[in-house]
């Protein structure tokens, strides 16, 4: 599993690997918001938590299609399925690599973009904490969607349609936690629920994704 994680990280930073793509997309989407809604700082402050979460979610979606499709095309997935590591382990390793190359950079970049959107001071810590808690669920759900659509040509759009509804709980609790904190209220309840969603995804979805992969490899 470690070998697979390291290989995926190495592939991501090599030419054409797509590292930084999600981050740049997040940056641009968030910078477009003030152009769309105007630069009134009060309006921006009010919508900042939701906008940042939505941007992070869409950025996460960008690189999901490649998660299994590339390995499927070059035959690596067949070999991985017959390799000593269980397919569930391979799914976890690939989802972890996806999180390290998208979710983690997004979490670290979010406060910088928060400044751009006039996010009120108390919101920063909870925003980062929420993203750190929530983005692993985004990667894991995405891995499940990618496993479902792995054999399809141009499965990207279908993948988005499958995955986005499943992102709703994470989005609701994440954005709610950040906006409560920004308004000076306690945010521990949505944060706990956010963590619960993530833990549930991490516990169940590797098995679902591995089962979907086995069906698609037949």
């Amino acid at each position: 599993m470690k070998a697979l994680l390291l290989r995926d990280l190495r592939l991501a930073v090599r030419a054409g690997g797509g590292f930084g793509l999600a981050l740049a997309f997040f940056l641009i989407v968030t910078m477009l918001v003030p152009f769309a809604v105007g630069s009134d700082s009060q309006t921006l402050a009010r919508i900042a938590p939701g906008t940042l979460w939505l941007g992070a979610l869409l950025a996460c979606l960008l690189s999901l299609e490649r998660l299994f499709a590339l390995d499927y095309e070059d035959g690596s997935l067949d070999i991985l399925a017959t390799a000593p590591i269980p397919l569930e382990g391979a799914v976890i390793a690939k989802a972890a690599a996806h999180w390290l190359t998208t979710g983690l950079p997004l979490t670290l970049a979010a406060p910088v973009l928060g400044v751009l959107l006039h996010l009120p001071g108390p919101g920063y810590g909870v925003l980062m904490l929420g993203l750190a808690l929530g983005t692993p669920a985004l990667s894991m759900i995405g891995a499940f969607g990618a496993a479902l659509t792995v054999g399809l040509k141009r499965g990207g759009l279908l993948l988005s349609l499958i995955v986005l509804p499943l992102y709703v709980p994470t989005l609701i609790f994440g954005a709610d936690a950040a906006s409560r904190a920004a308004m000076g209220q306690g945010a521990s309840t949505p944060l706990l629920l956010l963590g619960a969603v993530t833990l549930g995804c991490l516990a169940l979805l590797p098995f679902a994704a591995a089962a979907a992969l086995r069906v698609n490899l037949r």
Binding site: A3, L6, R7, D74, S76, A83, P84, R218
Partner: protein, 180 residues
């Protein structure tokens, strides 16, 4: 050593994938754990942006065994070890894919047309690798169209395919067919 023969589409790949545990068998049992199989398909499982050595080192890590340098040496890839796999020729990539079998240390090799795009010299190198593997007590199932000069049993799949086709014709349409 078992050599599978038969025209295109007769089911050589299907048989190999079933043996590898990638597909469920329609009938019969397989008295061999799937963990003993090393499967080499048409696709070589090579990442273009990694070097030849990195590709093999990754698979060695996955199998938890094997020496990439030794595997590179067996297929004469040592001079190319540092090159990105994407810049290798088709035959060189194939040799890299076959080198993975050597380092997998698994007793049964399942090879799907292993000699495609190999030149005569390296076909011989591969045949020698299979001989060495079998001499060490291993087994190999090869689907191939050319004569590798290997002594082993040959299984022609054509009669089985004909029997299977007949069986399907007499069978009532299954659940799946209703949707197709």
């Amino acid at each position: 050593m078992l050599i599978l023969r038969g025209p295109n589409g007769v089911g050589k790949t299907t048989l190999l994938r079933t043996l590898a545990g990638l597909q469920p068998a329609a009938g019969g049992t397989l008295n061999w754990p799937a963990d003993d199989m090393a499967y080499a398909s048409h696709a070589d499982g090579i990442k273009a942006t990694l070097s030849a050595r990195e590709n093999l080192a990754f698979w060695a890590g996955i199998y938890g065994a094997g020496d990439p340098e030794n595997a590179l040496e067996t297929f004469g890839l040592t001079p190319l070890a540092g090159r990105a796999a994407g810049t290798l020729s088709a035959g060189q990539r194939r040799r890299l894919g076959l080198a993975r079998l050597v380092l997998s240390h698994r007793p049964v090799w399942l090879c799907d047309e292993p000699t495609v795009s190999l030149d005569a010299e390296h076909t011989e190198v591969f045949a020698n690798a299979v001989r060495a593997h079998c001499a060490k007590g291993g087994a190999a199932v090869l689907a191939t169209h050319i004569d590798l000069g290997l002594t082993g049993e040959t299984l022609d799949l054509t009669p089985f395919a004909a029997a299977a086709a007949q069986a399907t014709q007499t069978e009532t349409p299954g659940f799946d067919e209703a949707f197709l």
